[in-house]
């Protein structure tokens, strides 16, 4: 039964990839959505079955086939559902289904073949993502890990005729390759160390060992795995691809670059919680990288003008939170945030997609404003998403973010907690900056009546359409999820459910209370403070924001330019490689050594031929004479006494 979960989207992919261009859009969309919804239903059935089992035996395995056998080394293509992967498959198929449904409306203006191509990629992505989370050993996970990277590349570059989109796709792929290289090294080292690739066996073997006091093999394994996670989950130093990935269609940004694929790194750490727990050095690195990424991305998000880029930096920032949780050993809290974040970030992206759709491709916040009245559904759902991510009490983000901050504080990482809190303030501020700039106030002057396919059948061009039914449905369901999802974690139930996945050695006892009351109070205060900040600067007194930007123009410029990280990478890595390749490898080695050898051989032969071809006169008699002479000479040699 487990096999069906990734198989259904794969079948959807095959159908759409083979026959998609011959069928109409509704058929292609129905195949893709049907595959996803069916996969969701199977997942739900599997989870129901899982929950029915006693708490300490919650795992369902299925070995599909033996994949590799070589001597006593065997890897099975096997799938396993345990509480952790149960959460993941529900998120992937559930939110995936909604985004598929949303896409049927969002991509409606594409040509038939493009539409089918889009859905085939989306289905393929879902299949690989499900393999990633269901795989019961590193190798199967790696298949999914690479597969989602491929789909991410294909979908970022979906509009490949646009140079920036194809460039962004390549950037994402290459940056991910760097991380994947670390990941595969970590997997190999883990195999050398434990002799197996199965997660459970590795966890069992690792739990026999004590936590490493100094930096040893386990620390190295986990650090290499974490390098993979920084690539896939967009953490420092490899986060740079995610903001550019916004070149893809918005539902793709919502599904792949916010809700599911980018959380693969967090999931992978959760999956190897036992291993990571035995490498405290790595955990510290994970936590510090996580919180730094959260802060850095949050500050950049504060000044960006592209609505999707703000959300992208927000995603990077929230992923940083998840890694912070992982790093302080609060695996349950991290996965909890992953789960709630999937709802509200998907919601925010789809909401921004609805705005972009209505404005015919306009993404610049400065050209928006006052959309509240024209796009009421989008506005209200977006507002719920923004409240949820800011951590306003009662909504999903509050529970999970508070859990992470609380666990960070109680585990004694006060500085990390402080930075996390500051990031929380930034989160609320930049989210409400988007809300106010896009939906409140008046449309900026630059905004012009937009002409697109939409307006073609609408003579009153200035009137904007709110989300069509398919999009509105996804927005409303996700908004409900963003409100309610957090209640699953009330009283630590969510984390208790996950606990067996982080066993066999219980990593840390789960606190039953949701942190101390003071901490909760502080973080609520911070969230509200952030919203008030945004209210003041971006709604009440927009001039104040400009004045601030003027006063701190240096800082503002640094933030606008994303800390010049892309430029630094370009100067430190890309250019040296380019220069070495061009002047060293190409002009130095290839042209002046290899080419010279090859040409030299040819020229030698050519020079020798100048003499030899004189013999080739074409005169039959000359040939006969030489033949005769040759015979005489040979005979003479042998017969000469």
């Amino acid at each position: 039964m487990l096999l069906l979960i990734p198989l259904l989207p794969l079948v959807g992919f095959l159908l759409n990839a083979s026959f998609g261009r011959r069928v109409t859009k509704p058929v292609a969309g129905a195949i893709a959505c049907g595959a996803m919804v069916a996969s969701f239903l199977v997942s739900a059935a599997a989870v129901v079955q899982l929950v029915g089992l006693p708490a300490d035996a919650r795992a369902i395995s299925q070995q599909v086939f033996t994949w590799i056998t070589s001597g006593d080394f065997a890897v099975a293509f096997s799938l396993r559902v345990d509480p952790l992967s149960a959460v993941m498959i529900l998120v992937v198929t559930g939110i995936g289904s909604l985004i598929h449904i949303y896409s049927t409306a969002y991509m409606h203006e594409e040509r038939d073949s493009e539409y089918a191509r889009y859905f085939s990629y989306l289905n393929l992505f879902a299949a690989f993502m499900l393999v990633l989370v269901l795989g019961s050993n590193f190798l199967v996970m790696f298949v999914g890990w690479e597969g989602v990277g491929l789909c991410s590349y294909l979908l970022i570059g979906f509009w490949f005729e646009k140079k920036s989109a194809s460039d962004a796709g390549k950037k994402a792929f290459i940056v991910n390759r760097i991380g994947d290289f670390g990941f595969i090294l970590g997997v190999l080292l883990a195999f050398v160390q434990f002799g197996t690739l199965d997660f459970q066996q590795i966890a069992r073997a690792a739990s026999q060992l004590g936590p490493e006091a100094s930096f040893g093999t386990l620390s190295l394994i986990t650090l290499l795995l974490f390098v993979g996670a920084t690539g896939k989950s967009a953490q420092i130093p490899l986060y740079i691809w995610l903001p550019d990935a916004m070149e893809g269609p918005t539902p793709v940004s919502a599904l792949i670059h916010a809700a599911t694929m980018v959380t693969a790194g967090v999931y992978m750490i959760g999956r190897n919680a036992v291993l990571f727990s035995h490498a405290p050095q790595t955990l510290t690195i994970v936590a510090v990288i996580g919180v730094l990424t959260a802060l850095m991305a949050g500050t950049i998000g504060l000044v960006q003008n592209d609505i999707k880029r703000v959300l992208a930096y927000s995603t990077v920032s929230q992923l940083g939170y998840m890694f912070l949780a992982m790093g302080v050993g609060a695996y349950g809290a991290g996965i909890f945030h992953l789960y709630t974040h999937a709802f509200f970030k998907a919601l925010l992206f789809l909401g921004s997609g609805a705005v972009i759709h209505a404005l015919a491709g306009e993404q610049d916040l400065r050209h928006m404003g006052g959309l509240r009245k024209e796009l009421p559904i989008t506005y209200w759902t977006f507002l719920i998403g923004a409240l949820a991510i800011s951590g306003v009490p009662g909504l999903a983000g509050f529970f999970s973010k508070d859990e992470i901050l609380g666990r960070t504080f109680t585990s004694g990482h006060t500085i990390l907690w402080g930075v996390g809190l500051l990031t929380s303030l930034l989160t609320a501020t930049y989210m409400f900056r988007v809300v106010f700039l896009a939906f409140h106030g008046n449309r900026a002057e630059q905004a012009r009546p937009l002409h697109d396919a939409h307006d073609a059948h609408d003579p009153h061009g200035a009137h904007l359409h709110d989300a069509p039914p398919a999009m509105a449905f996804a927005l409303i369901v996700l908004a409900i999820g963003s409100v309610l999802a957090g209640y699953a974690g009330l009283g630590g139930r969510f984390e208790h459910f996950l606990e067996p996945s982080f066993a066999p050695q219980a990593v840390e006892a789960v606190a039953d209370t949701t942190g101390e009351l003071t901490l909760v109070f502080v973080s609520v205060l911070v969230a509200v403070g952030g919203i008030l900040f945004a209210t003041f600067f971006f709604w009440k007194d927009k001039a104040a924001a400009d004045r601030m930007a003027q006063r701190f123009s240096g800082l503002h410029r640094v933030l606008m330019n994303k800390y010049y990280v892309d430029e630094v990478y370009d100067a430190a890595i890309v250019q040296p490689i380019r220069i070495v390749s061009e002047y060293g490898l190409w002009k130095g080695l290839d042209v002046s050594v290899i080419d010279r050898i090859v040409n030299g051989v040819a020229e030698t032969v050519d020079g020798a031929s100048v003499l030899l071809r004189r013999l080739q006169t074409g005169s039959v008699r000359a040939y006969a004479a030489s033949l005769f002479l040759g015979v005489v000479l040979i005979l003479g040699y042998y017969l000469w006494p």
Partner: protein
């Protein structure tokens, strides 16, 4: 078997053969008609045949005669192919002079 006509010894056959061969070779080199050149080649081949037969008889074996049959077969084939080529060349160049066929060079 003695009589007025002395029985030829092996050396006589070989000398005759050498003379024939030389005539043939000289014909190949000096004649300006490609058909004559082919005829000269035939003479060379038959000089060799004579040697084979003579040596075979001298040694009392049939090997020389057998090889001669092979050579004759090959010579017949060669003549057929060679004359066909000559016809083709003539149609092409309106000439039988071997020196006019020098296209096969660098």
């Amino acid at each position: 078997m003695s009589g007025l006509v002395p029985t030829p010894a092996l050396s006589h056959y070989l000398i005759l053969s050498a003379v024939l061969f030389t005539i043939g070779a000289a014909g190949v080199f000096v004649r300006r008609n490609i058909i004559t050149v082919l005829l000269s080649i035939e003479i060379m081949l038959n000089a060799v045949n004579l040697t084979f037969v003579a040596v075979g008889r001298y040694r009392g074996t049939v090997d020389g005669q057998i090889i001669t049959f092979f050579v004759m077969t090959v010579a017949a084939a060669e003549a057929a192919v060679g004359l066909a080529i000559v016809i083709g060349l003539f149609r092409h160049k309106e000439s039988l002079n071997p020196d006019s066929f020098t296209a096969l060079k660098w």
